[in-house]
Structures are given as structure tokens and as C-alpha cells.
Assembly symmetry: C2
Homo-oligomer: 386 residues x 2
């Protein structure tokens, strides 16, 4: 990186079925929160993360739309998309714009409005994250594809379904204390066991919800951050994207997230760190199987042992590697294109020491892993208190 | 810019109704052409420009999809979108990735597959470039919005419709010699006059066609380009995006492209140049009114005098400021998300001196202006022979 980049502001809307707000309203709220938090008037550039608006809101061209709705006339603005990993890639685009010396202050806004459509429209729209010709055309929904992965994983490692329960229980427990979370209630092991099957073996509590929401981040160069940031700058140490085939059939091993492994490796190398240096890890638990695979790919567990971390309590706030600390995709919610930005907002909250009842003790260095499709695009970020 | 960036390879498919090729096939062809032209095996990162695939091909997540289809397993890949300006913004993202020091060799691929859908689906998909709540919801198609601008322009400056004819005549004349152009035939003034009205006052020959196509570019840092580039590197001198309101009603003056003016101004400043230094200008002539407005905004004509340049022959290959030199959007074709990349490919062809019968004499410095929506996002690039 040609110059160091820091986060100086964060903002977010609550996540839920927000029928009273439009797409641009949600983006406005998150961005206003972020610039207020950063103590700035307006950025030089806006990077929007969104996946579904062209289909669910008949709206492309969100960069200019949102920049002008917020009142930032004339500023540079674009949208960055990589399905469910859109948030991470938009953040990366902002980091690079600043690192390149071509932009000073950048805003990232992840926004998604999913609940104004029918469930059929939503299912079809989410399937565009998979391969339309080789998966979608055969009727494979996005949850069905994740179910194939989970089924294979359980088969290969001789694991019962219930060993995934602690992922959902942990996520819900952490969501209770997050005022922006969609599901602020705990769930029990019995409730997990009773929960209806969505696509065998994935049940309701293995799945993140359909949600609306927006999250925003303000970034600037380190030298500027020292003057600007009232809450203390959080520095970007690593930023790496890697890909794999979009279709599951093309993968060398569908229960090893190759792109996640590669992306984490690149980010560790950039930061000069290893997995054991990470104090908190915001995973992409769109389905509980993805949390297990992400932990393995990022080097926190051997292949087939991701669920051990959950069983042993290692993933809780007090554990060895706390994940989904503000509720994760499962408890906080999963407004798809916005999720990668929420993960980073939650991480910044932890690194600032502002996570309240969910604060991870001594959280100095943290990581996010934002996953697009069934693992086709993975963006890893490592951030640290400056 | 923290380090200088160069174009070292270009590739493109012919533009047309390419029913025998899928979206990913088109991208493959353009990217294979570009890496061969650059003399490299594979890039480190891929930036895809696309607007319509989520709606017309039920496919988002094109970055990973295309990277893997081309055989570049694991590399970083994302999609950048700003409606019809997607190509320019993806190129800018690649420039910054390299300038930041985080990527060495980057590929840009603009791809669009429009002709496999019904005209109703295409019209609705193109309307997502406009404001869905304030324009699309009222039935305003994209051509209708451009017609409002043209009507206002003709009214304000007391101009007859026929003064726009030379834009179409020039574009078609130049397309004749471009083997990749969709319409390789000249049109006469009489044919322009006779052409049926699409949305008054826009007629068929004021409008670019619905097209399929893909174009690709390989970039790398200047120091690497000197060793790598068999065709001679083309250096990026300026790269600037600016925005205006997406909805026409929100504009301060709908016949002055504020974002184009601002974007050109930023690019000139970066390059240390002025309009008179530009030898060739690839404009975004999606509609002939847009060519006139872009010439004015970029400083080649006073407000209301863009059509004078066309009337006087200044826009031809031999003219003062040649535009649409390989046919432009009108003659070469307009595969929406790919168009900004085609503009840059055409410009590189000119700067390399490889434009054959359409070669602009002494073309050392050139500019592209890629316009999203009715002028809401404008990306200006200035390139020069190194």
C-alpha cells in the first residue's frame, strides 16, 4: 500500500423489515451517521455496495443516486458488486482509491432493501449469486446449494447436524445486546433442534434472515486521520480478495473454501500477521456451515474441525476467537449487499472498545471475512487500533 | 497518482446480435485477445464492467464467474457499475488498484448481453439507469428522458433537429472501416431526415443500437510496461469521475452536463492539460444530443454550440477534434456496460497508430468521456503515448 488508510467513522441503520424506508433513505441514514461520527462534512468519493436493487427495486446506478440524495453534489460515486461479498469489495475499492493518492476522504455505503418483494422474487434474485447457466437454470436455489455443502461436510467428517447449533446460539446471544440487530432474543439448543428444515440439512436456525439495512464507513489517509478522527483511527492492515468457481461443480473440493484460504493468506501476509494474532473475527455466517468453513480456511481450525471451536465455546465473546460478536448475519441480519460493511462496522466497534456488554477484552487486531456466493468471492480485511 | 499506470493490451469482440455466444463467452474472447495483445499469461485482478446481467441474464457475481471461466483460478475479481458509465468506472478502479501498489497487472472487461431478451425487458432494464422512484415509476423510458433533454436544447438555442445529423453521419462513416462495428454502412442526410421518430425529437439515427459485445484492457505500472508491452505502453494521465442527480428534475440545468464538466476539469487538472491539447475524443454518443453536450462540457464548444462542430466538419477524422473515430456508440454499437471499455480500446487503437483508414494524424493525447444515465455519472480519462 502506497499510503496507510484508516477508518475514521461508522454508521448503520437497524436491520429488519424496514417497510417505512426506501433504499435511498436507508443509505442516507447510515451515511449521515458515519460522517457525524467522523466529524466531517462530506467525502470526496462514495463507494456503494449493493447486490439486489436492479432486480428488487428496479434501480441500478446507486452511486450517483445516493451521493445526490445525501446532498453531496458532484462527488465521485460508483457501485461495487460481488454478490454477498459486495460490502467487502466496496470497502477495498475505497481503501485503494485513498492508497493510490487519488482520493482523500472516501465513504463506503452498503445498502440492501429485500423485503418489499415477494419471496419468489427474492429467491430468484438471490440465485443470481450462483451460476445462472449451471445452477440457477436447474432450479437450485441459493439455500439448496449451501445445503449440498453442509450435507457433504457432515458426511465427510461423520458429524451430526446438531454440532452446528452453537453457531446459531452464539450469534443470537450476541444479538441481544446489539440495538441494531434484527433478532434480539436468545435461542436454546432445543429450539435449534426443533427448527423446521429449509433445505435438508439446513434448518431455519442455520439460516440468516431476509433483511433491509444500510451500513457506512468513512476512510482517509493515516496522516489525515490523526487530526480528524474524534474516536481514534482504526488502521487497515490487510485487504485481499480471492475467487473460486461460482458453480459448486467446478470446485476442486466443495468443503474447503479455497478462495477464503487464499484471501486470508494474502491478508495475513500484507499485515505481517498470522491467525493467532487475531483477537476478534467477524465471519460470514449466512448459513452455519459457512461459519465453520470460514474458521477452517482462515487458519483457526483444521479441516473438519470448525465446529469443534463452536462446541468448545471458543467462538463466544470470552472465547479464544470470538465471532459474530454483534450477532453476525444470523442474529444481526443479512441485508446481502450491505453485510460486508456491517461486518466491518461491527469490527471497528470492537476495536474502538465501544461494544458494550459484547466487548471482547483486549481487542487490538480484528479480521472480517465476507463471502460471495457459496464461496466464489471472498474478501478478507484485517484492521487494528492505530 | 502514487505510481504511473499504463495500458499494455486491448481486446474486443465484434458488436452485434451475437446469439451464438453467452455472456461469459464474450468476456472470454475479449480477455483472451487482450492478454495475447499484452503478451502476458494472466492478470492479478479482474474488474468487470456490466450493467444489465442481473436482469437480462439472471446473473450477478460476474467477477468470479468470468475470472474462472477464463481459467484464472483464484485471482481477485469484482464488478463495478455506474449504469452506462460502468466501463469507465471499472477502468478507473483498475488504475487505482495499480496506483495504490496493491495490484500489479490488472484486467478490465466490459461485457453486455442485451439481445437475448424481449424489447420490453430491455426497455425496463435500461430504465434502471434512471431514477426508478421519480422517473421509471412514471413510465419514462431512457430514450424518453434523453428526448426531453434534446427538446429543451433545441428550444433554448433555437436549433432545428437536422443540425444533429452530422453526428450520426460521421459515426456511420467511421464505422465502415471498423471490422468490429455493428453498422458498417454510411448514412446520408436524407436517410437521417427520413428516419422514424423514436421519442420526439429523437429519431432512429439519433439513437445507438441494442447490442451484445465485450471489450477488455490490460494495465500495469509504467516501470513494468516498459519491459512488457510489445505494442508500446499508453499512459493514463487523468482519471476522474463526477456525478449529478440521477433524475433530470433535480438538475440545475438539464442541458448543461454538470458532471461531465466537473469530470473533464478534474481530468485536465490531473494531466496538466487543456481541451486544446486533446487530439482525439471518444464521446458517449448514445444519443446525438449527448455528443453535443459532451463536447460543450469538455470545453470544445461554448454552450449551445456543440452542433456547430459537427456542422463544420470539426468532428471528422481530419477535423479539429475527431470524435467517434471507430464508429462511436451510434455506429460501432452500445453494449451498455461494455461501452466505456470500448471507448478506451478505440482510443488506445488511435494512440498506437493502429486505426488504419480511420487513423487520426498525430494522435498523441486522447480523451474518453463515458456517461451514465442522462448525465448522472461521467468518467473522463486522458491517455497518451508514453
Amino acid at each position: 500500500m502506497m499510503r496507510d488508510v484508516c477508518v475514521i467513522g461508522i454508521g448503520q441503520t437497524p436491520i429488519g423489515e424496514l417497510w417505512e424506508y426506501s433504499l435511498r433513505d436507508l443509505a442516507y441514514q447510515a451515511l449521515q451517521g458515519a460522517v457525524k461520527d467522523a466529524g466531517i462534512e462530506q467525502p470526496d468519493a462514495l463507494f456503494v455496495a449493493n447486490m439486489l436493487a436492479p432486480r428488487l427495486s428496479s434501480q441500478a446506478h446507486l452511486g450517483a443516486l445516493i451521493a445526490n440524495h445525501v446532498g453531496w453534489r458532484g462527488i465521485e460515486a460508483t457501485t461495487v458488486e460481488a454478490a454477498c461479498a459486495s460490502g467487502g469489495t466496496a470497502f477495498q475499492a475505497a481503501v485503494r482509491a485513498i492508497a493510490s493518492g487519488m482520493v482523500d476522504v472516501a465513504a463506503v455505503c452498503g445498502v440492501e432493501k429485500m423485503t418489499d418483494a415477494t419471496s419468489g422474487q427474492i429467491t430468484a434474485a438471490l440465485a443470481t449469486a450462483a451460476d445462472a447457466d449451471y445452477e440457477g437454470a436447474h432450479g437450485a436455489s441459493f439455500v439448496a446449494l449451501n445445503a449440498l455443502i453442509m450435507q457433504r461436510y457432515m458426511h465427510e467428517y461423520h458429524l451430526p447436524h446438531e454440532c452446528f447449533a452453537p453457531f446459531s446460539i452464539n450469534a443470537h446471544a450476541n444479538a441481544v445486546n446489539n440495538p441494531n440487530a434484527m433478532f434480539r432474543k436468545e435461542i436454546s439448543f432445543e429450539a435449534y433442534k426443533r427448527s423446521p428444515v429449509i433445505a435438508d440439512p439446513i434448518n431455519l436456525f442455520d439460516s440468516s434472515p431476509i433483511s433491509d439495512g444500510a451500513a457506512a464507513i468513512i476512510l482517509c489517509p493515516l496522516e489525515m486521520a490523526k487530526d480528524l478522527s474524534p474516536r481514534g483511527p482504526i488502521k487497515v492492515l490487510g485487504s485481499a480478495t480471492a475467487t473460486d468457481t461460482v458453480d459448486l461443480a467446478g470446485r476442486q473440493n466443495m468443503i474447503d473454501l479455497y478462495a477464503a484460504r487464499l484471501s486470508a493468506h494474502k491478508a495475513y501476509r500484507q499485515a505481517g500477521l498470522e491467525a493467532e494474532d487475531i483477537d476478534v473475527f467477524e465471519v460470514h455466517d449466512a448459513f452455519s456451515i459457512m461459519a465453520a468453513l470460514s474458521l477452517e480456511a482462515a487458519g483457526f481450525a483444521e479441516a473438519g474441525h470448525g465446529t469443534d471451536l463452536a462446541q468448545n465455546g471458543d467462538i463466544t465473546i470470552q472465547g479464544r476467537i470470538p465471532i459474530s460478536t454483534m450477532g453476525g448475519l444470523k442474529g444481526r441480519g443479512h441485508p446481502v449487499g450491505a453485510t460486508g460493511v456491517y461486518e466491518l462496522v461491527d469490527l471497528v466497534t470492537q476495536l474502538r472498545g465501544e461494544a458494550g456488554a459484547n466487548q471482547v477484552a483486549n481487542a487490538h487486531i480484528g479480521m472480517t471475512q465476507n463471502i460471495g456466493g457459496t464461496g466464489a468471492t471472498v474478501v478478507t480485511h484485517i484492521l487494528a487500533k492505530e
